[in-house]
């Protein structure tokens, strides 16, 4: 694919502040074995995008550690490859805060390979997006900017400002709106765009001259008024983690066979990730598991219902875990009860303890935190 990929790894960190204290949102564990960034990165890599830059801002050690050289995503390394792009720090330049500033800082990286197109996406989209089809759509429609959208039922999502598109029958964007409270079906922006490299450079220069603040509001918004902007409607599963409750919900969405098929069974387009080299998950006598997605290296002696467990979780006997997401190496001691909980890595729920949240407001247990009985 004649495109360079840009992944913005931390645009939405503030939305789940508790989980992004020591990592960027892209590095958040998800779905039993993945980090959020695996989805967009795998989509790009399997579409044949050979040069991918991951823009980072701060707290990116966890992300760096995960990505390495990018070989786990089968990104060819001699022609292109994966580049981590931390901000340049200069006296006259502060660390970027917006997409626009981030992209401005990446101008030289974007121009380096001479690709005709740029694909830009946030690093926290849970999808298996056919970028090849998006680019074909971009060319076919003669679009100057293609935005990717997904028809979403907003009543499922927790309230926050989101961007939606209104399109005509050809998919041309007639209006872009940013709304906080919405109900019903709308075409949600997945913060994923395709644009010609030359045009992007021109727009960024213009934006800098005019001291514009926002890529979406100012640059894309203005383009919707004056230029050909089309929306590619992605009809596969799209999940987000823009709040703790959405994070829990998107994880639990994976218990649906159709969702798993949409994300993981796209032929020739698997979702890659870094291997933890964990052994198989072990079920002992007394284990009772119903409707659960379970990563490698877990030891299950207790009861797990409607839950997603990452690598190396230990559920001891007599305990019950329900409607929860447990990240890597969480330990649930004997007789503990866990309901509507998001437990970060290495958290420990003590013997006999009961921890419970609500589906709309799950309880979060911080990394390495201990819950006492």
């Amino acid at each position: 694919m004649d495109a360079v990929g840009i992944i913005l790894s931390n645009m939405n960190d503030g939305l789940v502040a508790e989980m992004t204290k020591e990592r960027t949102m892209s590095a958040m564990p998800f779905g039993g074995r993945y980090r959020m960034i695996d989805f967009v990165l795998s989509s790009m890599a399997s579409a044949g995008i050979c040069r991918i830059g991951v823009a980072t801002n701060e707290n990116y050690h966890s992300l760096m550690n995960h990505l390495g050289t990018g070989r786990d995503w089968q990104i060819p390394r001699k022609r292109g490859g994966l580049s981590l792009l931390p901000p340049y720090s200069r006296k006259d330049y502060t660390v970027y805060q917006s997409r626009l500033q981030a992209l401005n800082g990446l101008k030289s990286f974007i121009e380096l390979g001479g690709e005709e197109y740029v694909v830009i996406a946030d690093g926290d989209n849970i999808y298996n997006l056919p970028f090849k089809d998006v680019l074909a759509f971009h060319k076919k429609t003669g679009s100057e900017l293609t935005a990717v959208g997904s028809r979403m039922d907003f009543s499922r999502l927790s309230a926050r400002e989101r961007t939606i598109f209104e399109t005509d029958e050809n998919g041309r964007v007639r209006a872009m709106k940013q709304k906080e409270y919405l109900q019903g079906m709308h075409l949600l922006s997945l913060n994923t765009w395709v644009i010609g490299s030359a045009l992007l450079t021109e727009l960024l220069q213009q934006a800098q001259k005019e001291d514009l603040a926002s890529f979406v509001q100012d640059v894309v918004g203005r383009m919707c008024e004056k230029r050909r902007v089309f929306c590619y409607v992605y009809d596969g599963y799209y999940g987000s983690a823009d709040s703790l409750s959405n994070y829990l919900m998107s994880n639990l969405d994976l218990l649906d066979e159709n969702v798993r098929a949409s994300l993981f069974d796209r032929k020739g387009h698997p979702v890659y990730t870094r291997s933890a080299n964990a052994p198989s998950t072990k079920y002992l006598k007394g284990a009772r598991v119903i409707n659960a997605l379970i990563g490698d290296g877990c030891i299950i002696e207790g009861e797990v219902v409607n839950a997603v467990l990452s690598c190396g979780v230990h559920i001891k006997s007599g305990s019950i875990v329900e409607n929860s997401v447990l990240m890597d190496d969480v330990v649930v001691e004997n007789g503990a009860h866990v309901h509507y909980v998001v437990a970060d890595k290495r958290a420990r729920i003590s013997e006999g303890a009961t921890v419970a949240g609500y589906s709309k407001q799950p309880l979060y247990i911080k990394k390495s935190g201990t819950v006492l009985a």
């Binding site: 698997p270 291997s275 198989s280 002992l284 997605l293 490698d296």
Partner: protein, 389 residues
């Protein structure tokens, strides 16, 4: 100029393992799948890198294709190094002829140039088809401390098992006084694990001498070790106390899987300090459905379990449909057990399909093997091999 390596490992991976029957029809024994995740060779290669031995020559001969692809550039074990790393050493022709590998010693002899590229003090000889976790560095330290010419790793085995192995007799200090390969009447229960440390120069001397002997089987256990003893070399036994299995037969292969189950298996695969590395297929985590029963089993990524699985090991991407029962079995990657089907006391090789309502295996003493790509149909136990399966 690169600095030399303290030790180069030569890993014997050319064996057929014919007693594993259908499991090694198309693959070398070190490439046989094990433990839900691994191939046998993962244990030895992981032991090497975990022991800080980063230069490994892998001697292949029988059905090397899958094994070669699996080893690749060694990245799986962190052995993709510019100086050192893993190198596959097949039999080859050279100006003075060249031939197949006639025995383990001959295989190493034919590749002595590989060893010398790294100027090692020691050569570690290993087998690629054993299941164990061992710190070879401690053994090399022991070898050095004893000032031995050769050190043989030994493990205490059952008296009645002893005649299957090379058996060492030692004095109080651990010095080997006698060594017999597969003796009819074993004098001790210290069995050789096929793990040897040699001084490079001593090894070369004996390999040269052995090569000239037309009567020799060119085998480490049968020829080299006895010749060294006869030559008055200091050979020491290094006693290994952990779990070690040579899964030579279908029964021992099955038993080694059952050994992994339970709360405290002798071989702890969850040991963070001594991971066994393997090639991870890009599959989503395992899904355990409504109505599933999973007890006393090991299940890998990509599995979908809707039925009952007990006392079994399932490799990646296995589907067990509703109402199906899997008990006391090993199902390798990509297997499918259809609705209401039953799998008992069986080893299903890769991509086996057990049709809905069909039955594989049975409650007799036998361990049933279904070959890779085979299909077990609903009536009777008629197995049909798919074309090219």
């Amino acid at each position: 100029m690169f600095r030399g390596k303290r030790c180069v490992a030569m890993l014997l991976a050319g064996g057929q393992g014919s007693r594993l029957k259908a499991l090694t029809n198309n693959i070398a024994k070190p490439a046989v799948a094990f433990g839900g995740k691994y191939r046998l060779i993962d244990f030895t290669l992981s032991n090497c890198i975990n022991s800080n031995i980063d230069t490994v020559g892998v001697l292949t001969q029988y059905e090397p294709m899958l094994l070669n692809r699996y080893i690749g550039n060694g990245e799986t074990w962190g052995l993709d190094l510019t100086y050192g790393g893993v190198a596959i050493l097949p039999p080859h022709r050279h100006s003075a002829g060249g031939d197949w590998y006639y025995g383990t010693a001959n295989a190493v002899y034919q590749n002595f140039a590989f060893i010398d590229k790294y100027h090692p003090a020691y050569v570690l000889v290993l087998s690629g088809d054993h299941i164990y976790k061992m710190n070879y560095r401690l053994m090399i330290d022991y070898h050095e401390e004893k000032g031995a010419a050769c050190t043989v790793a030994v493990i205490d085995v059952d008296k009645k098992e002893a005649s299957r192995f090379g058996i060492a007799m030692t004095d109080g200090d651990g010095r080997v006084t006698e060594f017999e390969e597969k003796p009819a009447n074993p004098q001790s229960t210290q069995a050789s694990m096929g793990v040897y440390v040699f001084d490079r120069q001593v090894l070369l001397d004996y390999l040269v001498r052995d090569d000239r002997d037309p009567g020799s089987d060119k085998d480490f256990g049968k020829n080299i070790i006895p010749a060294m003893l006869a030559g008055g070399e200091e050979i020491y036994a290094y006693t290994y106390g952990g779990y070690w299995r040579d899964v030579g037969t279908v029964r021992s292969y099955m038993q080694a899987h059952m050994d992994l189950l339970g709360k405290r298996p002798e071989l702890n695969l969850n040991d963070e300090g001594w991971k066994i590395y393997y090639k991870h297929p890009p599959m989503c985590p395992q899904y355990i459905g409504f109505g599933a029963v999973v007890e006393n089993c090991l299940i890998a990524e990509g599995c979908r379990i809707e039925g009952t699985v007990r006392n079994s090991v399932l490799f990646s991407g296995v589907c067990v449909e509703k109402g199906a029962v899997v008990d006391n079995s090993v199902i390798m990657a990509g297997g499918t057990v259809g609705t209401g089907a039953v799998v008992i006391n069986s080893v299903l090789d890769e991509r086996v399909v057990v049709d809905s309502g069909a039955k594989a295996g049975g409650f007799d003493e036998e361990i049933h093997i279904i070959g890779s790509g085979d299909r077990v149909a609903a009536q009777g136990k008629r197995a049909v091999t798919e074309e090219g399966g």
